[in-house]
């Protein structure tokens, strides 16, 4: 019966267009991932100071980064500072001419992520970032480099003049500091731009995807009424039981297959093109302040799982609305509303921000939450929002299934 439910969806012109659009979105995402878009753009700045893109450029960047592969210890930090100073001292490094300084930038590409971490570590305050900070350092100590991270956090949390002072409870402050201290140092540095690019852009596909999937499943229940097929449907032996569960299964199967197919294709195209190496590096190489002491590949796994739960929940919710209201139009707007309400409310008050961070849309942008400090205290125990929302929405999805079932099977024809 699941087969027939899918046939109802994809038999129509609208369903076919939606599927085509979904496939097009995946292809477009893969294309953009390989060519750079939005936040991240893997490119190579050559000896002439010009940006190169494409597979050759990736190879050159990878070679340059490979020279800096290894533990980011005293030796490598010193080497990075020395190399940075050396390049700054060249005529190109001194020049204010754009092309010349681009050439100098090009020479720094091998260690640019390291340089950036130094900028962050040695910035004046926790929330400031000084792009030229590394240029003013002549001596660097491994202990200070890593120690600054926790020190700055503590300074910020206990600065009475800063909002953070009142924003977090003492338990939460201790939790934050604990997470920072738990991070193992020194970091291992390797070329990791494939993972970086994937993660930075990983939200787009599930977000666009769920809007399309929402359209597909919005009619699963309501179309029975729209088509007036409800009278025959509910007068049959299985209409009020097995056929209803088949509808739910069809919706969940649909989102599962489409989501995983899309995300795995997208992952492997991006990583295949930009490189799988660096998966074992910690995410702090890019998200210096992250509370998540995980590696890039672990972040990838979490991104996929969070995205899946988010998609699954929104699909179940859309189906519920479809069954409840008998209206595909209302149902199809559900994912839109759920996804866009948070952006309207963002930044109004702090507690609201936590609520927003708890919304299912956050699950679709797990990587964007790696760098945020949204905490929630339950019975005195502190959690990161994601630690709560992932199981929460998984449970809610499971809980919704019998609710949808009961909602539809009890429908009366009036």
């Amino acid at each position: 019966m699941i087969r027939y439910e899918l046939k109802k969806i994809f038999g129509s012109v609208g369903g076919k267009i939606a599927l085509g659009l979904y496939i097009a979105t995946v292809i477009l995402s893969c294309f953009l991932a390989a060519n750079g878009f939005m936040n991240v753009d893997v490119k190579w700045v050559n000896e002439q100071g010009e940006s190169e893109r494409g597979f050759q450029a990736v190879q050159k960047l990878r070679e340059a980064r490979n020279e800096w592969e290894g533990y980011l210890d005293q030796e490598m930090l010193t080497k990075a500072i020395q190399e940075n100073s050396r390049i700054n001292a060249t005529p190109e490094g001194q020049s204010s001419n754009v092309q010349k300084s681009n050439i100098a930038y090009g020479w720094k590409q091998g260690f640019s992520p390291i340089r950036e971490m130094i900028n962050r570590s040695y910035s004046v305050g926790f929330r400031t970032y000084d792009y030229y900070r590394a240029d003013r350092i002549s001596v660097i100590k491994e202990e200070t480099f890593y120690g600054n991270r926790t020190r700055q956090l503590k300074d910020w949390l206990y600065d009475k003049t800063d909002v953070a002072y009142d924003l977090y409870t003492e338990a939460e402050k201790q939790y934050l500091i604990g997470q920072y201290e738990k991070l193992e140092t020194p970091f291992y540095v390797d070329y990791h731009d494939g993972w970086y690019q994937f993660l930075e852009n990983a939200a787009l596909l599930p977000m666009l995807g769920i809007l399309i999937i929402g359209y597909m499943v919005a009619g699963i229940f309501s179309n029975e009424f729209k088509w007036k097929a409800d009278t025959v449907y509910f007068s049959t032996l299985l209409g009020r039981n097995k056929a209803t569960s088949s509808k739910i299964k069809a919706g969940l199967l649909l989102v599962t297959v489409l989501y995983w197919a899309a995300m795995l294709i997208y992952s492997f195209v991006t990583l295949g093109y930009l490189g799988f190496e660096g998966g074992n590096c910690v995410v702090q190489l890019r998200v210096w302040k992250s509370l998540y002491n995980i590696t890039f590949w672990q972040a990838w796994v979490l991104t996929l799982i969070c995205g899946y739960i988010g998609n699954l929940f929104l699909t179940a919710l859309t189906m519920f609305i479809s069954a409840k209201t008998k209206s595909s139009v209302i149902a199809v707007t559900t994912p839109f509303v759920i996804m866009f309400i948070p952006s309207f409310l963002q930044g109004m008050t702090d507690w609201l921000d936590t609520v927003i961070a708890m919304m299912p849309v956050s699950l679709l942008e797990f990587y964007q939450h790696l760098g945020t400090f949204n905490l929630i205290t339950i019975f005195g125990k502190v959690f990161r929002v994601m630690d709560v929302s992932l199981p929460l929405y998984a449970i809610l999805t499971v809980a919704l299934v019998p609710v949808i079932y009961q909602e539809f099977r009890r429908k009366q024809i009036v």
Binding site: M1, Y4, K8, K228, F234, S235, L237, L238, G239, A243
Partner: protein, 295 residues
């Protein structure tokens, strides 16, 4: 085989669409005759468990049908008045899907669908999309769907509405064919639909069962007589106002009126045998509609 309706009432916010309706059905064809809004569809929706009655009961061999749940629905075949379907399904897919809903195993279903397609004359159209079928073909797909599980109770809500006269006759014959060994309840507001195929006729008005019985019983039950009277052109209007007129036939110089009246309405009036059409007019105060607007 005993489908019993006892004191069935459906109240829509104080309006009783079905009002204290009681009747008992066993094997045979039953014609449910009533004007628009009489409550036929509402009654049938309760009989198909789509809608719960406000009060009263429906039992099958003594058991409440709502309590029987699937066990009762297994016995049902239903062609709704407003027959809806999955527009992008082919006729074959549609029937196979409904067969699945009825819990028929695929191997059996394939056989059954094949037989029914032949019986309703849709073999050639089996791969056509449902939405591309003509009204008559849709109705035939509808009856095939109702027959898939070889139902003990076949409920057809105005199955001939919207069909042209030849389709209507075809359909009537089809129903006759299918009526063996089961209860067929057929609603209509067209007398000729059921006059010859129904064993029993139920006249429904304002949610209530007015009278029931064989066509002869019902005709005999009418306390007034039927007269044919020839009148001049000028007096047609007067007669139409004064009497219940079931038919007007124009003849040279005037008209021949079919009048229902206890006493002889005019001097030249001749008494004739009443028909079901006359009875319909007598009970409902309006002519049985041949033309219809409900589809």
């Amino acid at each position: 085989m005993d489908l019993r309706i006892s004191n069935l009432t459906k109240d829509f916010d104080g309006f009783k669409a079905v009002n204290n309706f009681s009747y008992s059905l066993d094997c045979g064809v039953y014609g449910l005759l009533g004007v628009n809004g009489a409550g036929k569809t509402t009654l049938m929706r309760m009989l198909t468990t789509l809608m719960k009655p406000t009060s009263g009961h429906i039992t099958w061999d003594g058991e409440d049908v709502f309590a029987m749940d699937g066990k009762y629905r297994m016995l049902l075949g239903y062609l709704p008045q407003d027959f809806g379907y999955y527009p992008d399904f082919s006729v074959y897919d549609y029937l196979m899907y409904i067969a699945a809903l009825k819990g028929i195993r695929p191997a059996v279903a394939r056989q059954r669908v094949k037989e029914l397609l032949k019986q309703v004359g849709l073999v050639k159209a089996r791969n056509k999309k449902m939405k591309t079928l003509s009204g008559g073909m849709k109705r035939r797909a509808g009856i095939a769907q109702a027959m898939l599980n070889d139902p003990k109770i076949l409920i057809l809500d105005e199955p001939t509405a919207g069909l042209d006269p030849s389709e209507r006759i075809r359909f009537r014959n089809l129903i006759s064919e299918l009526s063996e060994d089961r209860i067929v309840l057929l609603s209509t507001h067209i007398v000729s639909d059921i006059e010859y195929i129904a064993n029993d006729i139920l006249l429904m008005k304002d949610g209530q069962l007015v009278i029931s019985g064989t066509s002869e019983d019902i005709i005999d039950s009418m306390p007034e007589s039927v007269w044919i009277s020839r009148v001049s052109k000028s007096s047609i209007d007067v007669c139409l106002k004064r009497f219940k007129v079931s038919n007007v036939k124009t003849v040279p110089g005037g008209a021949e009126l079919r009048i229902i009246s206890r006493k002889q309405p005019t001097e030249n009036a001749i008494q004739v045998d009443a028909t079901l059409e006359d009875v319909f007019l007598y009970y409902f105060g309006e002519r049985a509609g041949e033309d219809d607007d409900s589809v």
